[in-house]
């Protein structure tokens, strides 16, 4: 499973420069061109990362409209901050960090404003073809009502704390390795594993009915 956790998007090429090993960002060319004012180059970066970032933000907020607004802000902020991007991490990690921080800030504000209600949880995608296909093929949930499963999954996710939901989203849903998550969130790998452990234990309770 761990091997599937490194995608072509994230992998950076390593180049030996004398004794030093330099990592080449796969987006280096697009970054340079964007910094020089070529908006088309940044558009390519937007198109490349929208889907992945959508997944991250959506599964943290469970609301499509909020996700759309946050994503627009994430890319706008990234474009403005691009001149300060020093390349210490890959662009992928950098923009993921921006998206994670902005989403966590948004959730803090939203939680202060009101508690999440069922109406806030977006269930519009419950008729998604891929989802239905996947659920019907998987043994433990074959008999389950898909709509109910979807609802329970969303509600279970919303029961987690924002930090725990972030690691579950990145690890379980998006398939990112622990090391990458720790870089994005800015905590140790141990903390990532610990958060995952407690989050899984909590989810087991909420999803008890669907596990058998």
């Amino acid at each position: 499973m761990e091997t599937a956790r490194t995608t072509a998007v994230t992998s950076s090429r390593e180049v030996t420069d004398g004794k030093k090993i330099r990592r080449i960002d796969p987006d280096q060319d697009l970054i340079v061109r964007s910094r020089q004012g070529e908006t088309a180059a940044f558009d390519e970066l937007v198109e490349k990362y929208t889907k992945k970032l959508y997944g991250l933000v959506y599964h943290m907020t469970s609301n499509h409209e909020d996700t759309n607004d946050i994503l627009q802000d994430v890319f706008a902020k990234a474009y403005r901050a691009l001149k300060r991007f020093r390349g210490k991490s890959t662009f992928y990690t950098w923009i993921y960090s921006i998206a994670t921080n902005m989403t966590l800030n948004f959730l803090k504000k939203r939680n202060r404003r009101r508690t999440m209600s069922l109406n806030d949880v977006d269930l519009a995608i419950e008729r998604d073809k891929d989802f239905i296909e996947a659920t019907s093929k998987s043994d433990p949930v074959r008999e389950a009502n898909i709509s109910e499963l979807q609802e329970r999954l969303n509600m279970a996710m919303q029961q987690l704390s924002d930090d725990h939901r972030a690691v579950v989203t990145m690890f379980d849903i998006q398939g990112m390795p622990h090391a990458e998550i720790s870089k994005i969130i800015g905590v140790s790998e141990g903390t990532v594993r610990s958060r995952l452990f407690y989050a899984h234990r909590q989810l087991q309770t909420y999803l008890e009915d669907f596990r058998n």
């Binding site: 198109e47 997944g55 994503l71 706008a76 998604d128 989802f131 989810l203």
Partner: protein, 156 residues
């Protein structure tokens, strides 16, 4: 452990929750519009500053140029200021200005000179101005001296 894996498998199903391709293409268009309108609203000065910053950032291999450039600029300014000073000291106009300044400085700072400005001259009364002059003398009301004494005074 097995329970945990089952939970993970269930949660992993959420990765299929994704909007259609139309959404992503319209999202990109929306972002482009927003980006372009933001750029248009920015002033040309901020755009120039950004371009200059980017250009300087591009000089990764020659970062020493930044302090060197700053030092050269400082030296240039220093030379300009000092040459301007020498020039101004040499010209007559500037000498005059210098003198006036000096005078002003003295007049502002010297208390004796300040007091001098406030001296009032007290003249003697007309009948006391010339010794032994009779008050009934006809020319007394018209001038300081009698006609007879004028010659003497001239000689004085």
């Amino acid at each position: 452990m097995k329970d945990s894996e089952e939970v993970q498998r269930l949660v992993r199903l959420k990765r299929y929750e994704t909007p259609g391709e139309e959404y992503f293409s319209s999202f990109a268009d929306e972002f482009k519009d927003r980006q372009r309108s933001e750029m248009l609203s920015r002033s040309s000065r901020s755009l120039l500053a950004e371009r200059v910053t980017v250009w300087f950032d591009g000089l990764h291999g020659a970062k020493w140029l930044v302090p060197a450039g700053a030092a050269a600029a400082a030296i240039g300014v220093g030379i300009f200021v000092s040459s301007d000073k020498v020039e101004s000291e040499g010209s007559p106009q500037s000498a005059l200005v210098g003198h006036v300044t000096a005078v002003n400085e003295v007049s502002e700072n010297d208390p004796a000179q300040l007091a001098e400005e406030n001296i009032h001259i007290k003249l003697p009364k007309p009948d006391q101005r010339v010794p032994n002059l009779k008050s009934s003398f006809p020319g007394n009301g018209f001038g300081l001296l009698p006609a007879s004494s004028r010659g003497n005074l001239r000689e004085l």
